[in-house]
């Protein structure tokens, strides 16, 4: 931990930050960001996946063994800053990584969690996706309360959201035009393809052979 700054230093820093251009500010944040230093290798971490855009590391304060943080290599503070293309890319990695957890560490399910803002539990100024392997009765307890909404609120809140989304969804007489939809070309579907059987690492003899989607989906079952 660095020494806390005295008042003069703090003032000087605030002054410096005020005068920075957005680019300089981002560069500054990047230098301060512990996850950017992990990505560049200046700080050690257990990397389990890496490509041009994304790094996956094990969380050192995991909810469960195998709890993984998927980070964009580019520094974004929160999800709304992430370009669509990068977001769809990272979501494909999330999917594949979740699959890996079901196959390699006997996870029976996974949670995907993104926190935007301190009120949502975000602790670091670097966009990341938490991927948490789950088992029955593992002690992790994410329960979302259910709060019934009044009809007035449903209409008021719903209409605000519809307006903010820029469309008129759900009104049958006025279907959402394709123009309002996100252009599909932005989604880079072709970057990933299923691994062909010959490229797969052969399961070791003691490992369960030939786990397939059928087996995985069976994990959905209760008891």
């Amino acid at each position: 931990m660095a020494e806390p700054m005295n008042e003069e230093q703090l003032k000087a820093l605030q002054e410096k930050l005020r005068n920075m251009s957005p680019e300089e500010l981002r560069e500054f944040q990047k230098k301060q960001c512990i996850f950017c230093q992990i990505i560049s290798g200046k700080i050690q971490a257990k990397k389990i996946y890496e490509d041009d855009k994304v790094v996956g590391i094990l969380d050192i304060n995991p909810a469960n063994p195998g709890h993984t943080l998927l980070l964009t290599k580019e520094h974004y503070s929160i999800m709304p800053q992430v370009p669509d293309e990068d977001l769809s890319y990272i979501s494909m990695v999330v999917k594949s990584m979740s699959n890996s957890m079901l196959r390699s560490i006997d996870a029976q399910g996974t949670n995907v969690l993104v926190a935007n803002g301190i009120a949502a539990g975000q602790r670091a100024q670097h966009f990341m996706v938490h991927l948490i392997p789950r088992k029955e009765n593992d002690g992790v307890d994410f329960v979302l309360p259910q709060r019934a909404m009044e009809q007035n609120d449903i209409d008021a809140i719903g209409n605000k959201l519809i307006a903010a989304m820029g469309g008129a969804a759900g009104k049958e007489e006025k279907p959402v035009s394709p123009v309002q939809a996100i252009p599909i070309q932005k989604v880079k579907a072709e970057v990933m393809k299923p691994v062909s059987p010959d490229k797969r690492i052969e399961p070791k003899k003691e490992a369960k052979p030939g786990i397939n989607l059928d087996d995985i989906s069976r994990l959905l079952g209760v008891k």
Binding site: K46, K47, Y49, D51, G56, L58, P62, P65, P80, V82, S88, I90, S91, V94, K95, S96, N99, R103, S104, Q108, G109, N111, L113, V114, N116, G117, I118, A119, G121, F142, V143, P145, Q146, A148, M149, I154, K160, L161, A163, M165, A169, G170, E172, P175, P178, Q180, I182, K188, E190, V191, K193, P194, V195, K199, R200, I201, L213, S217, R218, L219
Partner: protein
């Protein structure tokens, strides 16, 4: 585009307008709906129109789109509801808290002290345990494929990947009957 729906699936009935809902966003693949029993007012769920029970079965094209729309719903929540934060939350599989066999992304508006707890008690793992997990996961993650190399390859039909076998469908329908 007619969605591949599953009889008896509550979410598919919302997609097919058999159950009324407050729709926030809709396109060919994705639907965003206001959860009227949400964790906070403005809680939305973002769903694929096609029926896929779990994350692993959603084709890449559609998963990318689902997250893009979730991000837009999250931004809309910030802009229009004055939320202090948002969570994107997926429960994938019953042990992870999934209650309906149709893949769902929750987008939840957050305020301080709103009574929602998505925190966890950090576990202390030994260096050995961490290294074992690291090796296992890294080894399996090799199967994710070489993104860079595959970028140049021709498109693959999302439909083909999405196909759910008869056996799976039979299994899922059995699961659905168990749901309340």
């Amino acid at each position: 585009m007619a969605a591949k729906s599953k009889q008896g699936c509550l979410v598919c009935q919302i997609v097919g307008n058999n159950i009324p809902s407050k729709k926030i966003y809709e396109d060919d693949f994705v639907l965003a709906v206001l959860d009227v029993n949400g964790a906070n007012p403005g809680h939305c769920f973002v769903i694929p129109k096609n029926h896929y029970p779990i994350l692993e079965q959603v084709p890449d094209l559609e998963i990318g789109r689902l997250f893009q729309v979730s991000n837009r719903v999250s931004s809309a929540i910030f802009e229009s509801l004055g939320a202090q934060g948002t969570n994107i939350f997926v429960a994938n599989g019953t042990p992870a808290g999934q209650t309906v066999a149709h893949f769902t992304i929750n987008v939840i508006p957050r305020k301080e002290n709103d009574g929602i707890n998505l925190q966890w008690q950090p576990r202390q793992l030994s260096e050995e345990e961490m290294s074992t997990i690291e090796l296992k996961l890294r080894d399996q993650a090799k199967n994710i494929g070489d993104f860079k190399r595959e970028e140049k390859k021709p498109k693959i039909a999302a439909e083909k990947q999405a196909s759910i076998s008869e056996e799976e469908e039979e299994y899922f329908s059995r699961q659905l009957r168990r749901l309340p």
